[in-house]
Symmetry: C2
């Protein structure tokens, strides 16, 4: 079997900065583009910072034909600032983090009321809102506790394009069908694993991420929606590299590094479930339709043949070392080069 994907997109990607970005950015180059998260230190809150970061991303991608879709870390902005953003090449949308909810999100929003005016302007101007939707509650309840906030946002701003980023629960999948203006991304790992894979046997720090993987019925609902080609569900890897020394440690940082394996693993997953014909929608068409993203002429062909080499046990350069998901494994599908 073989599939050629047109203009595949990763709708949620952490490229980091500096040496780590130099290491990881080229490992996303099989995608035609990606939505690049703004939670650097300090976060990307200004158009000037966004332009500078985009420049560094393009440089780190070397000569790959890759479109970074840049996001601003949500802070309350006025009309002029939003217009400036809109007219900036590569600007894609605003990413809203509840304060302190994940890696480098300390400067996030603690009260949605302070965001109201900006959200209204975004709705009028057609700027997408991407949301890390977790409460500060018990780790397993954080996403479901946030669903009411999504409901309120969807009702209050009916024309705002609101993306529930990296959803992990069956309840979030159900919510998608309640409001036309809600869409969602889902990661590779949340289609595959549950909390059992993280903490059911030996503890697996490289599978620890936020939101944490949930119950089997949650994973199954996410996978089914993806395999069904749900038109408002998009692939967003949330690939989130951390130095190996911060993963295999006391106080391990949250994030699974999936960028280099995402496309072959998705192909084998969809093929195994007889849904290979829905993969194009999941990794590109849905996002392009929802956001009006233009396709590039990038294609990638995948085949159900194991690659000759296993996934590296780690990637190492520029003084950085990161461990990918499936480190050391031979994947059943490979990219045709």
């Amino acid at each position: 079997m073989e599939i050629t994907l047109q203009s595949p997109l990763d709708m949620h990607l952490h490229l980091r900065d500096g040496d780590m970005m130099k290491l990881v950015a080229p490992l996303s180059s099989d995608f035609a583009g990606a939505v690049v998260m703004p939670n650097l230190v300090p976060p990307v809150t200004t158009v000037a910072a966004l332009e500078a970061y985009r420049g560094r991303v393009l440089q780190a991608m070397q000569s790959c034909p890759f479109t970074p879709l840049m996001t601003l870390f949500f802070t309350p902005l006025g009309e002029k600032e939003l217009e400036h953003a809109l007219s900036t090449p590569g600007f894609f949308g605003m990413k809203l983090y509840p304060a302190g909810i994940t890696t480098n999100s300390e400067g996030g929003i603690s009260n949605l009321a302070e965001a109201e005016r900006t959200l209204k302007l975004m709705e009028e101007m057609g700027i997408p809102l991407l949301v890390h939707g977790e409460s500060h509650g018990f780790v397993l309840d954080r996403e479901t506790e946030f669903l009411n906030t999504y409901r309120q946002l969807a009702m209050r701003y009916p024309k705002l394009r609101i993306s529930m980023e990296h959803i992990t629960t069956a309840a979030a999948v159900s919510l998608l069908d309640e409001f036309e203006n809600l869409c969602a991304t889902v990661t590779l790992q949340h289609l595959l694993i549950t909390l059992d894979d993280v903490a059911g046997g030996l503890l697996q720090p490289h599978l620890f991420c936020k939101p944490i993987a949930k119950r089997p019925e949650d994973r199954d609902a996410l996978l089914q929606a993806a395999l069904d080609g749900h038109p408002r569900l998009m692939f967003g890897s949330d690939s989130a590299p951390h130095p190996r020394s911060k993963k295999e440690a006391c106080g391990c940082a949250a994030g699974v590094f999936t960028a280099p394996v995402a496309l072959p693993v998705l192909a084998s997953l969809f093929a195994r479930h007889g849904a290979l014909d829905k993969l194009q929608a999941f990794v590109s068409d849905n996002a392009r339709a929802l956001y009006g993203i233009r396709a590039t002429d990038r294609t990638i062909t995948l085949r159900d043949e194991p690659s000759s080499l296993p996934v590296p046990s780690c990637y190492r350069s520029y003084g950085c070392e990161v461990v990918p998901m499936y480190a050391g494994a031979t994947l059943p599908w490979s990219i045709v080069r």
Copy 2:
């Protein structure tokens, strides 16, 4: 405030063997005795192995007046073997593990029918049954899925003393009140932490154990039962040392090492809740009444004064290194030496 505990007991302890035992055994010497788990490699399945292990335990305890209450790893034994065990100094009971459920339990029981004759004999002979009660299901459901097995055991062997080891859920606490022949141990960490403490922020491998810490309402039910002095709930630390290199690693082993901090932390916890008068029952009297264990003349006095030194960030000797719970912290209560 000050409390003097008479003959405190740790009703569930992993002392390991060899160099690790030499390191950790003396760190339990503030207890008058402990129920010593048999999941060595290979497990302690014969009386001869139990006697030899007891000898090594006593040697590792150096000259401390400490009573090891030794357990046999449950395998189907006949009347002669059980009688032999009963007449062996230091023999306490049988520990039943479902096969493969935790560290070194591969040789456990996969079908309770094979245990039936032995259990009947144990009931007749008054030999306690200690059970690691988890199914092979989803990590959060394993204990609740096992509760029906406890019910069946309690009904089928009404005179068998059955201990639900290291319970972690509100449902298990409720089950205690259904059957007089059920009792339970609870660890230090399960009175204190939830899954949030393990995986809600950065991942904390030193708080990762099996059964995994559960929801806040589970922790609260366990704590309340302990503070109430529930007569069939006993302290069992399940203190489970692993080499630091196996905890702060990809594939971290399950177990929290609490032995050196358990008594001062329990004292401050019970005092904070105004239940210091129930601590003697929890750490000694309940176990002595349930099992007919004789008190020794060991006492230990604890006072609500921070010790002059923080908990060591790790314990290191004999080529082993283990990290205790509260490493580096100064505890609000200390042992009066």
